[in-house]
Structures are given as structure tokens and as C-alpha cells.
Symmetry: C2
Subunit: 464 residues, 2 copies
């Protein structure tokens, strides 16, 4: 395939994900069902990415009511919405120039930066956050533009962050999380990855995801301190994706931000380590992936970077609705407000659903041969390991397929269940995993486990 | 200022616009008003960009009702919305997976590509459009990523498209529209620009904006045919920004798309010229700049480009709400539907307001010394020329300011009216213009003209 002169050669380096092929397969299957073809299932269930509203999780009512009222302000002047909704919507509408149709400022709608920094100061129990260090983004997919010969140490397994880096001109250098020990991050592995990176590029940053996704690992303070010492010594920037900070599942599990740990470590770390952390309304209780609202906070960066980020963001512009979702997420309802109880109930319901889903998933997985899973303490996914029989691996290779994709594609065809192969998340040939989103309704999760369990037992039998 | 290692050097080449300085000045002024400082005006009016909902234009009720109902589906099951709104919202919700919180497919929500191609086929009276050639975008700011040494012939005056090109790695090569002849585009000028481009880069594309913005020029079929012949002979791609296709002001003025003209020219043009055209819900009657929904249609491009565009767009993801706005724009209400009459009235109102605003603007401008304006046939802006007195130009240079910025900054300080200096749109030193959005309410336009008229007369007196 020749390169069209319109397209930057970098784009050619973006890795095509197998999930794309599975989604196309799912579309074809749904078409067949629509045309009346008989299948042993009525519909496809896609848990191959965390897309909680598509798998039965309900959106938070308060934020939806506020956003709907901003979109159609007649709702504010009526009694169709609760009083706190109308008040919040009125305040927000004033901030955005009276209409969601107005262009957003480059730096976000006027209150956004302050909202984020107030939220961060509260969250980190007083560690200061300046609004000038905040950048409003399109959600968690928004990455800075990097130089062509620079490298970023990137965790494996992880989502397709590598691709965004590649398109920006940088190289994603993999470091491997420990799949035998709950997907912990070992500093020795970082050192190995850094040495190997230096052979091919100029490594400038370490990317970490905490709580981990799809690994379910939540880092301890000690581990975070170790990482901060490592980037300090190696003069790397630290990118922390803290998108899943709301989603803690393990008993007694706590989220601490890198910002807070860094501040509490004191000099020389707290004045020197350049930290960029991201969070968004796409994940967590909000789960508003379709709305595209998030932020990036920079710590210890040179002010010149700020100016250049502003220029960059100004080129694309920011959607207003994602910012409204983010604003509501950052300023939750307080006790006494009319919608507070419903709000708390909804959060509680999501929490209980998650704990239930994980418990049930382990019950089912434990009963199956040839599948195992590290504990899940946070995040929206589980990432069980498949111990595939040799015959299955051989058969996959005969068909020129990666073994995990071979498994996923059969699972989808036979049961209508779509999960993501671990190879999409960077795992090298030799160990096999699948990712499935656990932010689903209880009913959906039961159906997911029923389909997976039945298929898996038969698969192991067929290839034993 | 040193270059931070995080930031791609290309970003440094983005031109800082003077409008940014004016917006900061406006923020400072509003702060002073809030603190009780006495000014001869109560508020800033910003018409420096087309942001119609911020200047008194009302959003289209039907689309807002549909979107609000998608956001908060309880509205669908109640009698709070008209029946056609509820039906449309129900259909759309099904398409997007049941919630606006669901991630959009890379190629847009399932019906989008078909919606766009159906719209285009209707608009172009049968010229075929294949959904596979459609790309859903973030609105009009979404540009393809170009190679570093390639060039794009870009109209002057025009918005900051040049900057998006620069950040993508390409060079914007200016060609000048004829400010003496209604901002017509002359092919000889294109030839001159192309020759000069070939000295610095590899020119691969011609960018045109029709209806013109801020120029108000609407191209004739003959002019478009000339341009198509030019790009055919010179083997350039043609990028057509047709964002303002709804907004025709001149009597009897018609919009014809480049796609249609190209098809009707027949072979060899219709099979060979690579045409990329864009349109969005940010402009026109919708004016939903905050929602970020648009599309790009490719004609005669190699299928490989399509695959690469898909990869690119998949990195950032598409906001759902902008797509909903786009869908409603592409499928307007039909006679007989309950909301049809209100819908027609609202469009009629916008049309009449625009014609009124332009008529009034010319009445006022004609009464002022040292200002003139080419006719306005389409688009959302006017772009009058300032014949600044020598003393004013001299004074501006003393203060190390561009003369048009000097004028705009004083206008803003003394009257609270914010307009955009022509130098921001690429005009070279020597002729001076201001851009102002004409998509405002009648009252806002009256106030804009009152402030501008009073200031301008005094300015001309002070510097004569």
C-alpha cells in the first residue's frame, strides 16, 4: 500500500489493533441476527473496552439533569427539574456565555481551571494546586505532542496509549508489569526498559497508570515513592494516568495521587520532578466516555510549556458538554441539597455492583480449567490469563492468528460475547490474556460469565 | 524562551494571534466593571469571531430538545417534549448504544456516515456520495495531518487555518483575495502563489473557503470551474471549506458545492481531482460551535487514505453530542411534523435578522469617513477596510503596535466592543481591516454599530 501524500508518514506506524477486527466481526454478526439468521444468542455483548453505559450501568442522574437543562434552558425555568439541578445549570450557563453552542475559551470555560484546582487541593488534603497549571482536555486520550526521537516508557499491558505516542512522533518503550504478582511494577524492570530505550531513542518520560487498567492493580505509597525516586535520578518526566481514581474495589484499598506522594516526599523530589497527571469524566462513576471532558495538571514544569500547551489546545478547541460533565464530577452534591440522597444512592449502587461483579467473576473463573486471574483492587476491567492447550495454539498458528485472538474470535462467533485479546495491550507472544470490562449491570455480568464459562469449558475440551 | 523537551518544535511555529491579546484585555475590562470601576459602557460585546449564541442568536429549539432528551431520557417518556422530538431522540439513542456516555465508534455513531451521504446526495441533486468516503470530525477545526515539507495554498484573509497546518507540519502559503473586487479569487494569483510556494516547499493542496469568511464572497460556478481546472493541471488536492453553505445573504445568491461542480464538469476532471470538503454544525443556522460535530467528504482519494484517516481519528475519539447536532442539521424536520412550523419560523427569523443586520451595517458604515466594505453575499462576518490616517499609523508604530490592532485595542478600551484586526487573518502591513460577526441579534447589532460609529468618528477626528 503506497503512502498518500496527504498523510503524515507517522500515521503509518500506528499499530492496527485486533479489537478492530473483532468489532467488525460483531457488526457482521448483528447484521446476520437482524436478517433472521439463527444463532444460539439474541445479541452481541461487547465488554472488550470499558464502556459502562453500553453494558447496563446507569449514568448519574444529577449530572445528566444539569447538562440537559443547560442544553435546553426552558427546563431551568420550569418545575420539571429539582431545584439544585436548576441552580447548578443556571450558574454553569452563565459561565459558558449563555449557550452550550458558544465556543469554549482555549483554556476551558472560565470556572473550569479553578474548579479543577479546588478539587485537587481538597482531594490531596491541602497540597496546593494552581489553576495556571491546569489544562482542560478532550478526556484521557489527549496526550502532549512529543518530539520524533523521544521515547516514553509505557506499561504493558495497557490500552493503546502507545499509538497516540507513535502518532505524536515519539516511541513507546514497553516495560512489563509482573503478571505473577498482581501486576506490580518493579523498579528493576524500569531500569531494564530504560537501558534498552537508550539504544533506540531519547527516553524523556515514564508513563504509569494507577489504579491500573486493565490490571486492577492499585499502587502502594511505597511503590509510588520508589518510582518517584527513579524518575528523579533518571531525569524523566512522570506521566500519571489517574483516570480510575474513583474505582477502588479491594477491601481497604485507598487511592493516593502521585501529586500528594511527591509533595510529601519533600525536597529534592518535590521541587524537581516534573509530573503530569490526567483524570477525566470518561471513567469512574461518571463513565461519560462519549462527552470528552478531562484535565491535565502539570507540576514543576517550566512556564514556557504552559504557553505552548495553550497554543496546541487552541487549534482543536474544547467541547462544552464534556466540560460540564467534568465540572459536575469535580463538585459533587453536598448533604442537604435536594438531590443529594439520590446521588449517594447511585454511587453506592455502582460500588456494590462492582464488588458483586468481581466476586461473581472470581467464583466462575475459579470453577473453570485453564484460566486464572490476579486480584482486582481497582479500575474497570479484569484481565484473566488463559492457559491455552498446545493444540489450540498450534491450530491458531495454522490459521495465521495470534492465539488469544483465535480464542476471542471463536468466543464471539459462538456466544456473541466480545472481549479484547491481551496482545492488543502489548503482551508478547507466549502468555495469553483477555480483557473484559467489569463496569456492567449485574444482569449483564451474569450473562457474560455464563457465555464465557460455557464456551471456555468446551474450548478446553475441544483442544485437549 | 527555551524549548521544553516535551513539546514538539513545530508548536513553536504557531503564530500568536492578536485576538488573544484583545480577549485578555476584554477579560481585564470585565473584571474592572465587576469591581465597580466606572466605564462609559456596562459590558463588553465580543464580535471578534462568529460565536452567534454569545451575541444574542437563539439556538434551534428542535435540535436542543432532541439533544436534551438524549442526555436525560426521562424526557422521552414524558409529555414534556413534542412527539417528533421524542421520536427523534429515541431513534438516536438506539443508534448510540442507549446513552450519550457510550464511546463513539471511530467512524462516528452508526448512522452518521449514511446520514451525511444521504444529505449530500439530496443537496447535490443526485451526485452520488458513498458513506465510505465520509469521515465524522470534531467540527471545522479538524484538519488532516500533513507532511512536514508539504505546502498548502491558503486564502488571505482567512481564519487561523494556517496555524493548524503549521502544527501538522505543513506550510501555509498565502494567496491573496482581491479586496477591490468583492474578495474574488483570481487564478493568476493562484499561479503566482504556487510559483513562490515551489521555492520553499512541495505544494500539495489548495484550500478554498466558500461562502467566504470573513470576506462574504460567494463564488460563481465559473470561478469554481476555473479553480478545478487549475488544481487538475497543477496536480493539487482541493480542500473546500463549505461551512457557511447555509448562510446566503445577497439577493438571488446560491450555494453550489465543489462536489457538484466537479461532477458536472465530467471527465477528465470528475475522475481525477482529489477533493476534500468540510462542513459542520458549528456554523450556519445551528451555530453550535461548542458541540464539535462536523464531517469531511473525500472524492477521488485512494482507499488507503481512508484507512489512515480512520486510524488517526481513532486516537482522539469523537464527542457524541456534536454528532447528534450534526445529525439533526442533516435531517431537518419535514412539513407535517409537529415542530415543523416553529422550526421554519426560527430559520426564517435567523435569515431576516442577518439581512437586517447587513443592511443596517452598510447604512452606518456609509455614513462614516475612512471606512468601506465590499458587498456581503454569504458567511457570518463582515470585513470592512479602515482607511487609517497617517498620524494614527505613525502613533501605532511609536507604540510598537500593528495599526489595525492599535485601532481595535482603543475601540475595546473606550467602548467595550471587541472586533478582530485584519492582520490576524494574514493581511500584510499596508491595508487595514476589522472583522466583525454579523450573526447577532438585531439589538446587539444596533449596539455594535452605535459603539463602532461613535468611536470611529472620534478616532478619525483625533488623528486627522
Amino acid at each position: 500500500m503506497s503512502q498518500h501524500r496527504l498523510v503524515n508518514p507517522l500515521v503509518r506506524n500506528i499499530r492496527a489493533l485486533k479489537r478492530g477486527a473483532l468489532v467488525r466481526q460483531a457488526v457482521r454478526i448483528e447484521e446476520e441476527i437482524k436478517q433472521g439468521m439463527k444463532k444460539p444468542y439474541n445479541e452481541v455483548i461487547d465488554v472488550s473496552r470499558d464502556n459502562p453505559h453500553a453494558t447496563g450501568m446507569k449514568p448519574m442522574s444529577f449530572s445528566r439533569q444539569v447538562i440537559a437543562s443547560c442544553i435546553y434552558p426552558e427546563l431551568i425555568d420550569s418545575d420539571k427539574m429539582p431545584l439544585d439541578v436548576r441552580e447548578r445549570a443556571k450558574t454553569l450557563l452563565e459561565c459558558i456565555g449563555g449557550s452550550v453552542g458558544c465556543y469554549s475559551d482555549t483554556i476551558g470555560i472560565p470556572i473550569m481551571r479553578d474548579s479543577v484546582s479546588d478539587f485537587l487541593t481538597r482531594r490531596d488534603e491541602g497540597v496546593p494546586s494552581a489553576s495556571g497549571n491546569i489544562f482542560i482536555t478532550h478526556g484521557s486520550d489527549h496526550v502532549p505532542t512529543l518530539m520524533q526521537d523521544s521515547g516514553v516508557l509505557t506499561p504493558v499491558p495497557s490500552q493503546d496509549f502507545g499509538n497516540a505516542l507513535v502518532a505524536s512522533g515519539a516511541t513507546a518503550v514497553p516495560y512489563y508489569l509482573d503478571g505473577q504478582q498482581g501486576w506490580r511494577l518493579h523498579t528493576e524492570e524500569l531500569q531494564r526498559a530504560l537501558r534498552s530505550a537508550r539504544e533506540v531513542c531519547d527516553p524523556i518520560a515514564l508513563y504509569v497508570i494507577n489504579p491500573g487498567d486493565p490490571t486492577g492493580h492499585v499502587q502502594s505509597r511505597e511503590s509510588m515513592e520508589e518510582i518517584i525516586r527513579f524518575v528523579y535520578e533518571e531525569k524523566l518526566l512522570l506521566f500519571a494516568n489517574e483516570d480510575h481514581q474513583d474505582i477502588l474495589i479491594g477491601e481497604g484499598c485507598m487511592f493516593i495521587s502521585y501529586k500528594k506522594v511527591l509533595a510529601e516526599m519533600g525536597s529534592p523530589f518535590s521541587d524537581a520532578v516534573e509530573l503530569a497527571s490526567i483524570h477525566s469524566a470518561s471513567k469512574g462513576f461518571m463513565g461519560e466516555g462519549g462527552l470528552h471532558g478531562g484535565y491535565l495538571e502539570l507540576v514543576n514544569f517550566d512556564p514556557s510549556v504552559q504557553i505552548e500547551f495553550d497554543r496546541l489546545i487552541s487549534l482543536l478547541g474544547l467541547p462544552i458538554i464534556g466540560q460540564l460533565a467534568l465540572e459536575v464530577m469535580l463538585n459533587p452534591l453536598q448533604p442537604g441539597e435536594p438531590s443529594y440522597e439520590q446521588y449517594q444512592e447511585e454511587i453506592q449502587h455502582i460500588r456494590e455492583t462492582l464488588v458483586h461483579n468481581v466476586t461473581r467473576a472470581f467464583e466462575v473463573l475459579d470453577s473453570l480449567p485453564g484460566i486464572s486471574c490476579e486480584p482486582i483492587n481497582g479500575g474497570a476491567s479484569m484481565f484473566p490469563r488463559l492457559h491455552l492447550p498446545h493444540i489450540a495454539i498450534h491450530q491458531a498458528k495454522e490459521e495465521e492468528k495470534l492465539p488469544d485472538f483465535f480464542y476471542c474470535s471463536r468466543l464471539l462467533e459462538q456466544t456473541g460475547l466480545c472481549v479484547c485479546p491481551g496482545s492488543d495491550l502489548g503482551l508478547p507472544e507466549g502468555t495469553y490474556h483477555i480483557r473484559l470490562c467489569i463496569m456492567t449491570s449485574v444482569d449483564t455480568m451474569e450473562e457474560v460469565l455464563r457465555r464465557l464459562g460455557k464456551f471456555h469449558k468446551q474450548f478446553m475440551k475441544d483442544f485437549s
